[in-house]
Amino acid sequence: MLDFDSVSSDALLTRYDIVAESKEKPETIAERHLPKDALLRKVAEDVLYMKYKIIEEDVAAALKEKTPEEIIENGLLKGMDAVSDLYGRGIYYLPHVMVSADAMDRGIKLAEKALGNERKVKGEVIMHAAEGDPHDIGKNIAAVLLKSNGYGVVDLGKDVPVETVVETVVARKPLAVTGTALMTTTMSAFPRISSGLQEKGADVPFICAGGAVNREYVESFPLGIYAEKAANGPGLVGKALDGWDWKKIRDKWDDIQSGSA
């Protein structure tokens, strides 16, 4: 065995992730989002620091003095805003977002119970993994990110027949529908869904993503909007909420990704 320690790895590779590590403290960044009110701040910090085991206790305490709407809007969602900011800066990783979202969900459920009904979501998104495709981790991540951004999600699951997707979209008239596929031969369900939707007059943005899926392919059929990763979801659906049709979202895709649209 050669002496591996005699090799300088600095001459072979550069750890750009370490070079680019944020010098700002996460607490400083989070402070910009956190509420000042002590009760709401506690709830927001439970989301921020992933304290899913005690969040219900803190929400229950806050409910004695605050309305459920205040707790959701100015507590739970503010905590999630801080999480999104830290994730966007590469300080938080995906698991932080997932566990924070779990905590937020628990808090929201309790607040909704006090409210007597479910909070109003911004709009609904129907999600599925393509027919013949059992890989759905990307869809599940995207679902959490959409929910934590205030959207309602109807998750049809994996290996979903084309007809089921079309029928559900026609019946529920969502803001957008998403499809994910790992393999090139299962993503061929996407243009069939597009045709089915167009035949029924459902002109809804169809956001497609997954391992083998590429932008050129998705833009080869009507309605198709490409998403490179799960984190693109809220931004794209947000444009549908703003009233953009699929053609405008597709045309302005690069601007949406860069944040200039």
Partner: protein
């Protein structure tokens, strides 16, 4: 089924591990020898979208275009030996008798023709798809919607009877828990999913694959934890990615090795699957031939160990490439050229008795590029193998031991200033070590705890594992 679980290493020293040689070489197909002194390129391919519409178009794509192109390029460049891998698409596995039979048969007929005409040594691996859905049932008679478990067995029979030389699968047992755990950075959940449940599913599945192979006098190859550890690895990604820390993916890889080993314990002879990056650990323990992929598979994966992972391979693969034109020929021809030339380089090194030097150069190139590459470097892979066989009887304990050993190796190198880690990678590593060390030493206690802890994970049904 009584499994022959590994209690000791087949190799007495890490230094004995090198590419192109295995303790148990295999001869199969049309005169192909693997692990017997040379590395063989293994080319893998995928048909273009749309070709799956009819049996005729699919056969044309696989046989008349892909297989013919591949064989022509092998002859053009003078490659003495070649293995093909047909990683079945969903449409082949969903209706194997109708859709797959003509493809499998057609590929083998063409290979026979080239073998007869040029004497090139050839074999083909058929990797049947594991389409099983955890929510519908993993075992026979459970899935009333699609009958996917039954279709796996049908696919194996169709492949074996019509021309396969090697049978493989990328099985998905435990994936429902691993998917849940990986996005929550929950190493205990991942250990339960892949280390324990994944092993139980392999123990059910692999004896059946071995039976089909034996009955048809072909090779039961091996598995991969593509569904679990590769999910971790691709989410961890490179220096721009922030989905999960690379220390987490490195430890999941070590845990996965204890699970992928079960195929061999059930009678698989190797080669394991190319995308099973846990291969060096499996080879160190079992002495079985190993397929690997790295820099010649950049058409499919951007991994962080493109050179290093060639260190102990017996087959060198391109993972998979979709058929399409390139300037230098079709994509399958271009990527066969890449892996075929690399195999020629390795084989030249063997003849010049410089193979261990080349092996070490491969390792030096990527040893500190990522924690996952680091723990798979053959000296570390060997140590993880030792940790596994020390408690080889228990699926849980050996998977846990593999995870702890990998984490300790990473920590030790980082403490010495060799393997650099980001702040997040370090924090994650410390948490992994404390989480794994805090677990009970009795399998039963762990399983009781985990069944309660993960009872509400969507699609988790203990009956899939007879629990």
């Amino acid at each position: 089924m009584v499994m022959n679980k590994f209690k000791k290493m087949e190799y007495s020293s890490a230094e004995d591990l090198v590419f192109g040689e295995a303790k148990y070489p295999q001869e199969y197909g049309l005169g192909l020898k693997v692990g017997a002194g040379s590395v063989v390129p293994e080319v893998n391919f995928a048909p273009r979208p749309g070709s799956e519409k009819t049996v005729e178009s699919l056969k044309r794509e696989y046989v008349d275009y892909i297989t013919k192109d591949v064989l022509n390029r092998a002859i053009t460049l003078g490659f003495p030996a070649l293995q093909l891998e047909n990683e079945w698409i969903f449409q082949l596995g969903d209706n194997p008798s109708k859709m797959a039979t003509p493809v499998v048969r057609g590929q083998k007929e063409l290979m026979q023709k080239f073998h007869d005409e040029y004497g090139i040594k050839l074999a083909i691996r058929h990797t049947v798809p594991d389409m099983r859905l955890h929510e519908d049932g993993l075992r026979l008679d459970m899935d009333k919607v699609h009958s996917y478990p039954e279709k796996i067995l049908e696919s194996l029979e169709v492949a074996a009877k019509n021309g396969a030389d090697v049978l493989s699968i990328e099985s998905v047992g435990g994936k429902e828990i691993a998917d849940h755990a990986v996005v929550r950075q929950d190493i205990k959940g991942w250990l339960f999913g892949i280390g324990y449940l994944g092993s139980l599913d392999m123990e059910w599945l692999w004896p059946q694959i071995v039976d089909v192979a034996k009955k048809n006098k072909i090779i039961p190859g091996g598995d991969t934890n593509c569904a679990g550890a590769n999910t971790s690895m691709f989410m961890a990604g490179g220096y721009l990615d922030k989905d999960i820390p690379r220390t987490f993916s490195a430890v999941t890889r070590a845990i996965a090795s204890a699970r992928t080993l079960v195929a061999i314990e059930a009678g698989a002879t190797g080669p394991d699957k190319d995308c099973g990056y846990e291969g060096p650990i499996i080879k160190a323990i079992s002495g079985r031939i190993s397929a690997q992929e790295g820099k010649g598979a950049q058409c499919a994966h951007c991994d962080m160990m493109g050179n290093l992972i060639a260190q102990t391979c017996d087959l060198w693969s391109n993972e998979s490439v979709e058929y399409h034109p390139e300037f230098g020929g079709s994509s399958v021809q271009c990527w066969l050229s890449v892996i075929g030339y690399e195999a020629a380089l390795m084989n030249s090194a063997k003849q010049l008795k410089q193979d261990k030097v080349l092996r070490d150069i491969y390792v030096a190139s990527d040893r500190y590029r990522s924690p996952e590459g680091f723990i798979l470097a053959y000296d570390n892979a060997y140590k993880i193998g030792q940790a596994i066989v020390e408690v080889g009887d228990s699926y849980y304990l050996r998977a846990r031991a593999a995870g702890i050993k990998a984490a300790e190796l990473i920590k030790e190198s980082n403490d010495k200033g060799k393997l650099k880690l980001s702040a997040q990678e370090k924090d994650t590593l410390d948490k992994i070590l404390s989480d794994l060390r805090s677990l009970p030493d009795e399998e039963g206690k762990f399983v009781d705890w985990a069944l309660k802890e993960y009872a509400n994970v969507p699609a988790f049904n203990p009956k899939n594992y007879e629990l």
